[in-house]
Symmetry: C2
Subunit: 250 residues, 2 copies
């Protein structure tokens, strides 16, 4: 688990071509504001498994996830770990006005981040309200997601947790790529069993058992190690314990 080696990937440096342009912290920026951001941004790439920063370490930048998935985790003294954030493309990492990272930030998959040095970003935030407004909106969304997650952690059974996680990832995948080939959903699980267990507050053995159970019952089909097919999404939704109706696609 090294924290070196971030080769600059071939990637368009133009904000206008950016895949997350309309959803990230810069979403509301006008052309001139974008120019200012463009001057202080730089890209960093990480390989799957690499740590971006450790909890407590100095973090002198904030960043948007461009491609890939990052996780935020907390660790207890005796090693118990709980994931507390799952950052997908366009999500924001780091906190303006704070020196160090409160969490371990890890690349769950290969990852590209659009980074801004913290100081200039903070100054820019004061001058351009559009950034602060968008950040507030995104933080409120994060808070809602965290509260949904708390319900899962506090009250759901292992089976419901697994079904919920698969539905969450399926939804997010569907919202990015519109691969609605009939009612059947197909996507890659971007998390290892261990990462899933850290997300769900379970052991990795329980995760494995419950995934197997859902497979044996035909609620999901696995192809290879990571690929998942959901033959009937509504059927799986019923296993999450959530209200049947409340399912809005992101």
């Amino acid at each position: 688990m090294t924290r070196v080696s971030q080769k600059i990937q071939p990637f368009s440096q133009e904000c206008n071509d950016c895949p997350i342009r309309h959803r990230a912290v810069c979403a509301r920026c006008e052309a001139d504001e974008l120019t200012l951001l463009e001057q202080i941004k730089y890209y960093r790439s990480f390989e799957a498994g690499q740590t971006v920063v450790w909890a407590g370490d100095k973090m002198d930048f904030v960043a948007s996830v461009v491609t890939g998935i990052a996780t935020l985790s907390q660790t207890m003294e005796d090693g118990r770990r709980q994931m507390v954030g799952l950052l997908l493309p366009s999500d924001f990492a780091g906190r303006p006005g704070r020196e160090t990272s409160a969490y371990d930030v890890t690349a769950a998959t290969d990852l590209v981040m659009c980074c801004f040095r913290k100081k200039p970003f903070e100054e820019l935030m004061i001058r351009t309200p559009h950034i602060g407004q968008r950040l507030l909106e995104m933080t409120l969304d994060e808070l809602d997601a965290a509260r949904e997650w708390m319900l899962l952690l506090g009250r759901k059974t292992a089976r419901e947790k697994i079904a919920s996680l698969i539905c969450i990832i399926a939804r997010r995948d569907a919202s990015l790529q519109l691969n609605a080939s009939d009612g059947e959903l197909r996507f890659d699980l971007p998390l290892t069993r261990e990462a899933m267990s850290e997300y769900l507050g379970l052991t990795l053995e329980t995760v494995s058992r419950q995934v197997s159970a859902l497979r044996k019952e035909g609620l999901i089909v696995t192809e290879g190690k990571r690929q998942i097919v959901i033959p009937d999404f509504d059927l799986l939704l019923e296993e999450t314990g959530d209200d049947s109706d409340g399912g809005f696609l992101i």
Copy 2:
């Protein structure tokens, strides 16, 4: 559980005399901005146990908690409940830009809120950046608290959960009133066993058992039903599972 009856309590209507003036969403406002807020604010009082709004119901205001404690809870179809927010004086309820409440909002104790009709508040937010800035700051704090809470829900034992909750309330109590009479901490538990169980993702029986266990071991002393004395705070802290050092008093 009615939702009527909010008698206006005798309470200073002057923002300058407000006990939460320096910590609430209005904390950064200048005198002139405060005047604008003052024009659209109104107080509402609730008795312990009353519901402020139900999840899904229209909520046409946002509000600061002035005195007392409010809770945010989610309910699953079959009745399982999880608390997802604990609002203390100066904390903010409601979300600008959203019509309905996402959670049940309940008065855990007698409660006074300083309310703003949503529309005027949103318009004010656009014109006075200080409100949005402060709200962002508070939301980021809420998010951090929610993530700490997720660690508790996902990874802590019942005993650690109870110890953690008592420490959290003791800290907050100490931060409001500086009653540092020696090393001994004394305060009222503002939550019923049921509310504690909803906070912690436990049953109320388990809460009761673990509180009794801590009492029998002398880690806490109970006087009457609700009053709690902590003879040695550090000793109790060791039962939370948290890092021994990281304990900053709010």
